[in-house]
Amino acid sequence: MVEPTAQSDEELLDRFQQAAFGYFLEQFNPDNGLIADTSRAGSPASIAVVGFALSCYPVGVERGWISRADAARRTLVALRFFSNSRQSEQADGTGYKGFYYHFLDMKTGKRVWQSELSLIDTTLLLAGVLAASEYFSEDTPSENEIRQCADAIYRRIDWQWACDGEATVRQGWKPESGFLHYGWEGYSEAAILYVLGLASPSHPLPDDSFAAWTATYQWENIYDYEFLYAGPLFIHHFSHAWIDFAGIRDRFMREKDSDYFENSQRAIYVQRDYARRNPYGFEGYGNECWGITAGDGPGFRTLRTDGRHRCFLGYAARGVPYGPDDGTIAPCASLASLPFAPELALSALRQFCARYPEMTRDSRLPSGFNPTLSGEGPNGWVSEGYFGLDQGILVLMIENYRSGLIWKLMRRCPYIGDGLRRAGFTGGWLR
């Protein structure tokens, strides 16, 4: 393997992007197209990870990593599964009202872990479905069927039901207890959910739902950066994997004379500045080592290290600058910042390679690592295996940086444009 320092940016990115793409080939069930949530033994499928996989296949084709026919085959088997699997109120279905349960059994495709019917994860799946529908546009039996299945899946989703009589969508629903009672206020990864919900050709969200959601926004000046605050870094990435928000503005962003792309850029600067301040004295944090987000962690424990009592967390929504923060860095979140702040993301990647060679040896980045827990390995604690969401966002964001492929595909998708306009976006490529 060539030393990262000797590689060009393009070579380095290609290496990490291809390694991330490999996850979807390895964790694929050829019978139903499902993809495992993580590479850990016994992991169920995550519908959001399938959404990422469906979006990544076109990248693989364009990069020459798989053939178009193979990509279409993988896509079609998944779309057939989601079209034909059981939708019902029963606890062991695959979905209900057109939405799907968050986690499904890899083999049977039935709900596992008593997981919720997830609005946002269904949205990420749907984003992949629509990306596939745009990419596989040829007049062949399999590509025609991909588009038919995609349309049927979208039309079946009952977004109005998901509001449960409120102005905004609920976060989820369970057959045992009904709609979830979580607070889901403030800026989040849900922008694409509202865009696709508003554009639904069959059960669209009400016009005022986007305004009701954005009413909970917080525009803050933190470390002299003004931005629409959200703590975990992934929030500033996920909708952006499919929608190019540069130059298009909704009412809120017109008022603030900014856009969501620039906003993600500022959020990344805040992350970098937080790491540079390193208020809690965590090992490794600095100008070139940042990236705090929702992800795996060392597990709940309290320890005394470096003259401080510290509390470590398991899988948690870590955030900047209010925390929680236990010294766990998510390298995928840093690298996925590439389209917004390429110089920062690339220098972080090179830093990871140079300082934490054990972690980056296979060119595939783990969900998290924590150098403060130095006793757990040469690079401190490192998350076991790999998470599909991390690998998916990496493939898409690196590709958007390199070629803009996914953004261009989704600009062609009429639903994206319609949903953005209904949400009040104007300008830029929407003209």
Binding site: Q114, K174, E176, S177, L180, H181, Y182, G183, E185, G186, A215, T216, Y217, Q218, W219, E220, N221, I222, D224, E226, G231, E255, K256, R277, P279, Y280, T302, R304, G307, R308, H309, C311, P321, Y322, G323, P324
Partner: protein, 507 residues
């Protein structure tokens, strides 16, 4: 509100409590002979009633003050004062356990002497009670009556057989804890945020039902005193209505202290199993049962509107929201006013105080002061403390006001760093494009002290530009407020202004 003429029956009989009783409800007290007519008769000698009585009497009014329980109300006897005394001791224990974080030796074998903690609380309470004793009020011209008050007409109140006639009256009967309707809870027994201060032994396992300010304060302080504490909150976050970042920091702090947190969780049944109290907690589709020694609940407050025959005086009320008042705090009987918890949404001592001052002006001196014009701060006294004043962001946006928040993290404040108290933030919300302060939230070890500067700014119409001109002593934690004002000033340095400055300097 205390209904008995003494502290509750479970309160220990010791010198501090006896001294307290001498001050707040002397056993040998004899009600005075009533005057023919009073300028102001006040029902309830809690914070609102006391403030009104003192200030009206000082201005020369003939005032009668009626109390059925203890002078000082909840705040002194079973609320703010005892809870803050216990919080102080619990903070000390928490600091002892983490002394090595401060470069000090952590004492070995730290043992909590709970009776000692409660003894100090009673000593503190007894001392503070000296400020407003029945005797002293009487010496200051307030006719103090102990007993149950009842309206006997639109301008008369009966107490212990005496009829007190008034030109104006003030109802300040306060509120009491409400308990959730959980099957088995009443039979099994529970503590409220009032009776918890009568405990003589530390519960080994404690369940706190409710994650509002009182629930969070009690959960954290009892955990720090050594109880195993579980807190069940039926909302997705603590302190509903507070800013979510503040609630998140509090949640993290409670978890760090070792409080077992159950959000989105409802207690659905309580039963006795041997020596244990077993509570079923339901979260979505999961149910768990926990065994505890004590339950603390009583997280809501209900206004004390019963048994004073307000109907006779034509005063309308609701058993949930309390006495109906207009913005001048007049009831539906224009001669009768209300103040404090019995009529207000924000049930705080300082709000009761402020409302009572309005009543004295409006009732006795033809004042037209409006309650809605007040700027009311509040604070939850956890560690870190969470304080707020003015509008929240969502309230501003609901009113169509464009809002921008200037945030300073306490980890950027030198004094917070030197004190090892660098968790939290100061957020100041301004109308976007201006320096007008709409509201502020502070999360910091001393947030309750710091918020006062911002209350002053809002009340006086001082904007961030002016605040930036105020020299703050260095190093202090309140300097965070000036740092936020400085951040605002930096946003005024537009590229055009910078270019002009460069041109000037290069001349």
């Amino acid at each position: 509100m205390q209904h008995d003429e003494t502290l509750s029956t479970s309160a220990p009989d010791n010198r501090f409590n006896r001294a307290l009783m001498e001050n707040v409800h002397p056993p040998a007290w004899r009600n005075p002979d009533p005057a023919d007519m009073y300028n102001l008769v006040i029902i309830g000698a809690g914070p609102a009633g006391l403030v009104a009585a003192r200030s009206a009497a000082a201005l020369g009014a003939k005032v009668a003050l009626i109390e059925r329980g203890l002078i000082g109300g909840d705040c002194l006897n079973s609320g703010c004062v005892p809870s803050k005394a216990i919080i102080r001791t619990s903070r000390l224990y928490a600091e002892m356990r983490t002394a090595d974080d401060f470069g000090a030796q952590t004492p070995e074998g730290i043992r909590v002497d709970f009776p000692c903690v409660m003894e100090r609380m009673r000593r503190v309470r007894s001392r503070i009670s000296r400020a407003d004793t029945a005797q002293r009020l009487s010496e200051n011209g307030v006719a103090v009556f102990f007993g149950e008050a009842r309206f006997v007409g639109p301008r008369a109140i009966m107490v212990e057989g005496d009829t007190l006639r008034f030109k104006k009256a003030l109802i300040a009967t306060g509120s009491r804890p409400t308990t959730p309707r959980i099957p088995g809870l009443a039979e099994t027994g529970y503590l409220t945020n009032e009776s918890v201060f009568d405990l003589t032994a530390l519960p080994r396992r404690l369940l706190v039902i409710g994650g509002g300010p009182l629930g969070c304060e009690l959960a954290q302080s009892f955990r720090r005193l050594g109880s195993q504490v579980i807190i069940a909150q039926d909302e997705p976050m603590f302190l509903p209505g507070e800013e979510r970042d503040a609630a998140q920091i509090l949640s993290d702090a409670l978890a760090r202290d070792g409080v077992e947190i159950h959000l989105n969780t409802t207690a659905v049944a309580v039963r006795r199993e041997g020596a244990n109290t077993v509570v079923d907690l339901v979260s979505e589709d999961n149910m768990i049962s926990v065994s505890v020694d004590e339950i603390v609940t009583g997280i809501g407050r209900a206004p004390n509107v019963e048994n004073i025959d307000m109907e006779v005086a034509g005063v309308q009320y609701d058993t949930d929201s309390g006495i109906l008042v207009n913005d001048y705090l007049q009831t539906t009987n224009r001669r009768i006013y209300a103040a404090g918890d019995v009529c207000l949404t924000h049930k705080f001592t300082h709000t009761a105080d402020a409302s009572a001052r309005i009543v004295v002006q409006n009732a006795l001196f033809l004042g037209r002061q409006r309650f809605s014009a007040l700027t009311i701060p509040w604070c939850t006294y956890t560690h870190p403390e969470i304080a707020h004043v003015g509008l929240y962001i969502r309230e501003a946006r609901e009113k169509g006001i464009p809002v921008k928040t200037f945030t300073v993290l306490m980890h950027d404040v030198d004094r917070a760093i030197t004190d090892g108290e660098d968790e939290g933030f100061v957020k100041i919300h301004v109308r976007d494009g201006t320096d007008r302060i709409l509201g502020a939230t502070i999360v910091a070890k001393h947030a309750g002290e710091m918020i006062n500067g911002l209350s002053l700014a809002i009340t006086s119409g001082i904007g961030l530009r002016a605040l930036a001109q105020v020299i703050h002593a260095y190093p202090t934690q309140a300097e965070a407020i000036k740092m936020a004002a400085d951040a605002y000033c930096r946003t005024r340095l537009t590229p055009a202004r910078k270019s002009l400055a460069r041109l000037w300097l290069a001349r």
